[in-house]
Symmetry: C2
DNA sequence: GTTCGTGCAAACCCTTTGCACAAAC
DNA sequence: GTTTGTGCAAAGGGTTTGCACGAAC
């Protein structure tokens, strides 16, 4: 126990078993890579991070695993128009995003006011009723230019 | 005047001229196609919509034009993880999105409460200060399942 | 006449897939 | 032993690009 990555892996292993799916080395490695990361990763990012240690695991497996984990809700997929998707382990802690439209850096924050939280929860229920959608989650992205790119702009 | 599409086109023509760029037939056709549409279109959607009438205009031109218009802020780009991008003419009227994760249908709504509006404006300023981003816009997506896909789910 | 824009086709890149082999159960 | 998962390489699909021609200024 103790170790949060191991804990996470146990939970996921359970999820898989329930559906007759197996916990294999590639899946374990991908979970650990995602758990170690502090931000969204592309499939290639993940692949490169473990490739030195596990050269036997291929990129196709990373893609297949990410599709599977996304379907199971284990992983969150994010696409900000970069031409490739990014992933992270689904968290119970909800967060909003700051996306730099120049370099596609993504910054997360989750220090909401309670007012903010209540507001969103209420809105979600309202929208659900009005449009007859079943809403699973919401994504809030602030799009703009990050400090680094702002500095570059100023310099040029 | 009167006609809002013509008006829009005039404004865009001005934007182009300012930068030494030209208003051409393909650009005009793409603007009109986007102006006619009531929802986000893919590059191929746009291409197919005018292709019967303007068979001479190619798909590559659509892509090049969309990149240009996006840079100029004339067009908004949306990527919901569908594997292709969607576009619409940038509007002064801000809206939020409902995205169906099964069929990728996108529904927009813009009937916010004033409380909702003020809340977002305040948040944007706050986040701007805290993270030193220059924020241009925000995107709010409620992700879930649309009424049609819900019905199909129930039927199966 | 010069510059900018376009059409076409080929190239590119991310992602998916077919197939034979390997691993998990 | 059967089923599920994987590696590899090839295919797929959206998007971009090089180049020569055409259009806008």
């Amino acid at each position: 126990m103790g170790n949060p990555v191991e804990e996470k892996r146990e939970i996921i292993a359970g999820e898989l078993k329930k559906r007759g799916l197996r916990m294999t080395l590639p899946r374990r490695v991908i979970i650990e890579t995602l758990a170690d990361a502090d931000s969204y990763l592309t499939a290639e990012d993940i692949y490169h991070k473990f490739h030195a240690e596990h050269p036997g695991i291929g990129l196709a497996t990373v893609y297949r695993t990410l599709v599977l984990f996304h379907q199971l809700g284990i992983v969150t997929k994010l696409d900000v128009g970069e031409g490739k998707a990014r992933f992270e382990l689904a968290r119970t802690e909800h967060h909003h995003l700051l996306v730099c439209e120049k370099c596609y850096k993504v910054v997360k924050y989750s220090d909401f006011t309670t007012q903010e939280k209540d507001g969103f929860a209420e809105l979600e229920r309202l929208v659900e009723k009005m449009y007859h959608f079943r809403i699973n989650r919401h994504v809030v992205q602030y799009c703009g230019v990050c400090p680094e790119c702002l500095a570059k702009e100023g310099a040029s």
